[in-house]
């Protein structure tokens, strides 16, 4: 009889289901995984060290590039860490705008996740639908900051500017004209808040549509039910957060438990799973999209009724406006100092966490009183989740590895940093 022995298999780094540049060394017994050793760092850019060489303000853009599908949530953690060191707080309207865009970001992230997760497990159509809605929300990113993805919209002390009064419209092209043009501009007649209204009314039905494609789908269930089960105790031990923790039945959500921005004033529910398998985590994320939509509606309502400043009035931290600079010497000096030297942050340290779509994303800043962070450490949820990869895939089939990568919602920008 032939001798049977384990063999080692290389998965990635260039593999469409590796969600970036994950290299997995898999020790296989037939088609069953005995051990998985993730090799990461192929996207390591040294963000933390780069930030230490720059004034505080100049690193906000790096945060977008960490978890590049939940951009503004990363900014939020970083900005909040600086604000708590400076002892300033953004105006209420800015807090609501941040809440609004955090939830937009959560939907963006979950749409990306369900699209690619579905694609990995053989549900092609969903990807196209998810990206249709994603595009509508990326337009909001663009309208508010000028960039579709890497927004740099949150600033210490508030947000860059107020929401636009007029949502940008499509112009006529040889391919989009007449009725087509009218249709694509239908939501864009009014302000951005009107656009959000139209979107959020429409979006519940969209999530229902996604669910009709997957939730009772026999293939989908075969690929996800009872795959990579994690008990609640183990999930806590492993440091899980976000949907990975809630999927295991722990009702822990920083938005509720340690509220920041305007989360203490909006109503929403925390969905939790029971079995802690891939299917439960899928259901949790789907429900989170609905809850995010609910928060968006409440924020839009509040923002309509409460105009006000979106940035604190403190020129030691915030650059003056263009107009002020034209005829005010003090403003010109402030502007010059802020953009050459930056501002000094008092000595101390701060760990600011936000409930990012993937879990707890946090920025830990040590300041020695200078204009640059002495040490910046970024706590990425995906990093912790990927560390548990070995444990989650042991004893599963090779094809389930793909399901686990999908369910962990891996994005390498934040893991490698």
């Amino acid at each position: 009889m032939a001798e049977i022995r384990n063999y080692t298999m290389n998965f990635g780094p260039q593999h469409p289901s590796a969600h970036g540049v994950l290299r997995l060394i898999l020790e296989m017994d037939g088609e069953v995984v005995q051990r998985a050793d993730p090799h990461i760092g192929l996207l390591h850019r040294g963000t933390e060290k780069l930030a230490e060489s720059k004034p505080y303000n100049q690193s906000i853009g790096y945060m977008d590039r960490l978890d590049y599908v939940s951009m503004m949530c990363n900014e939020h953690a970083y900005v909040r860490a600086i604000e708590s060191l400076l002892g300033v707080e953004a105006p209420r309207r800015a807090q609501y705008i941040r809440t609004l865009f955090d939830e937009v970001t959560r939907i963006l992230n979950h749409l990306m996740w369900i699209g690619t997760h579905g694609l990995d497990l053989g549900a092609m159509a969903l990807f196209l639908y998810a990206f249709r809605e994603r595009e509508q929300l990326l337009d909001c990113y663009e309208a508010v900051s000028g960039a579709r993805m890497h927004a740099t919209y949150y600033r210490p002390g508030g947000v860059y500017r107020d929401l636009p009064e007029q949502m940008p419209q499509y112009t006529e092209t040889p391919w989009t004209k007449g009725d087509d043009l009218k249709r694509v501009n239908e939501w864009r007649e009014g302000s951005m808040l009107d656009y959000f209204d139209a979107f959020s009314q429409d979006f519940y039905d969209r999530v229902d549509e996604y669910e009709t494609l997957l939730t009772d789908n026999r293939i989908w269930k075969q690929r996800t039910v009872n795959i990579a089960e994690v008990s609640a105790e183990r999930a806590i031990e492993l440091g899980f957060s976000g949907p990975m923790l809630r999927g295991s039945g722990v009702a822990w959500d920083l938005r509720k438990k340690q509220p920041y921005a305007a989360y203490d004033e909006v109503e929403f529910d925390i969905p939790v799973g029971t079995n802690g398998d891939c299917y439960d985590r899928y259901l949790v994320r789907m429900e989170e999209m609905r809850q995010s939509n609910r928060i968006i509606q409440q924020c839009v309502k509040w923002l309509r009724e409460n105009p006000g400043p979106v940035m604190i009035d403190n020129q030691k931290i915030i650059a003056p406006t263009r107009e002020e600079m034209k005829d005010d010497m003090e403003s010109l000096i402030h502007h010059f100092k802020l953009f050459t030297e930056g501002y000094c942050v008092p000595e101390g340290e701060s760990y600011a966490a936000v409930e990012a779509p993937k879990g707890e994303f946090a920025a830990y800043i040590i300041s020695d009183g200078s204009n640059k962070p002495f040490r910046l450490h970024l706590r990425a949820p995906g990093f912790v989740h990927l560390a548990a990869m070995d444990e989650m895939v042991r004893g599963h089939m090779l094809s389930d590895v793909v399901a686990v990568i999908g369910t962990q919602d891996i994005v390498f920008g934040e893991i490698d940093r």
């Binding site: 990461i40 760092g41 390591h44 040294g46 933390e48 060290k49 780069l50 230490e52 060489s53 720059k54 004034p55 708590s84 060191l85 002892g87 806590i236 031990e237 492993l238 440091g239 957060s241 722990v250 822990w252 438990k257 340690q258 030691k316 050459t340 030297e341 930056g342 000094c344 008092p346 000595e347 101390g348 340290e349 701060s350 760990y351 966490a353 707890e360 946090a362 830990y364 040590i366 020695d368 009183g369 200078s370 204009n371 640059k372 002495f374 040490r375 450490h377 706590r379 990093f383 912790v384 990927l386 560390a387 548990a388 490698d416 940093r417």
Partner: protein, 237 residues
């Protein structure tokens, strides 16, 4: 949450006793400094007695050049702001040959952030690593499994050795990488660069050809607005 947080330093003092070198509370959270010799013991006490069941984050810190500025702001000088750019010392502005070598004192620290899900509290534990040459501290993997990759990262980035770690390999840097990139005496531009060599027909490593350059010197200004705040916020203890 706020009330509990106000009590936390007291409970910490009761639980840790003499093991804690310093416990202080800032608006940004509660911090306990512990000695490297009792690092694991303190962490276990925090987990079992104080209910911190989750290790949320663990990272290394290199305190070299802490509080040193690169451009004098106390007095009027003949040197303008831009001259600070040519100053020596400070992170990122030296090449490998000119790196600072004679450093004394406790340079490295390990900082752990704990989270109690049951009590909804956070705690920061810091431990100064005694030896600068061979920084080593006990591993927390047996206390919290989530420490595994965090410690591998700290080892990779700072060269801090975690004794008792089951699998202390490099994590983020390239295969065959030399040095610990997040140390303050590691140049920001790195030491080597890669390029394709058409003669050899493969990718080769060569010494980095970029000049180290910093556009904004590090400046420390004592701001009267933060006078009271920084009194205890100081993290060097």
């Amino acid at each position: 949450m706020l009330e509990k947080s106000a009590m936390l330093p007291d409970r910490l003092r009761d639980t840790l006793g003499d093991l804690a070198l310093d416990i202080f509370e800032a608006p940004t959270g509660v911090t306990a400094e512990v000695a490297a010799s009792s690092w694991v013991e303190c962490c276990r006490l925090a987990r079992d007695e104080l209910g911190f069941e989750q290790l949320v984050d663990l990272c290394g810190v290199d305190y070299l050049s802490y509080g040193e500025d690169e451009w004098d702001t106390d007095d009027a000088t003949s040197e303008t702001f831009s001259r600070g750019i040519e100053g020596d010392g400070g992170p990122g502005r030296f090449d490998w040959a000119g790196r600072p070598t004679n450093v004394s004192g406790q340079r490295f620290a390990v900082v752990a952030h704990l989270l109690s899900i049951s009590n909804n509290e956070r705690l920061r534990l810091r431990c100064k690593v005694p030896d600068d040459e061979v920084p080593a501290v006990a591993s927390l993997v047996d206390t919290w499994p989530s420490a595994n990759w965090f410690e591998r990262e700290a080892f990779d980035m700072f060269g801090i050795i975690f004794e008792g770690h089951p699998d202390l390999r490099r994590l983020l840097t390239d295969y065959g990488f030399i040095g610990h990139p997040f140390r303050k005496d590691f140049p920001l531009i790195g030491n080597v660069e890669v390029r394709y060599d058409p003669e050899k027909g493969r990718v080769i490593y060569q010494p980095v050809s970029i000049e180290p350059r910093v556009l904004v010197p590090k400046v420390i200004r004592s701001d009267s607005r933060y006078g009271q705040q920084s009194a205890k916020g100081g993290s060097r203890g």
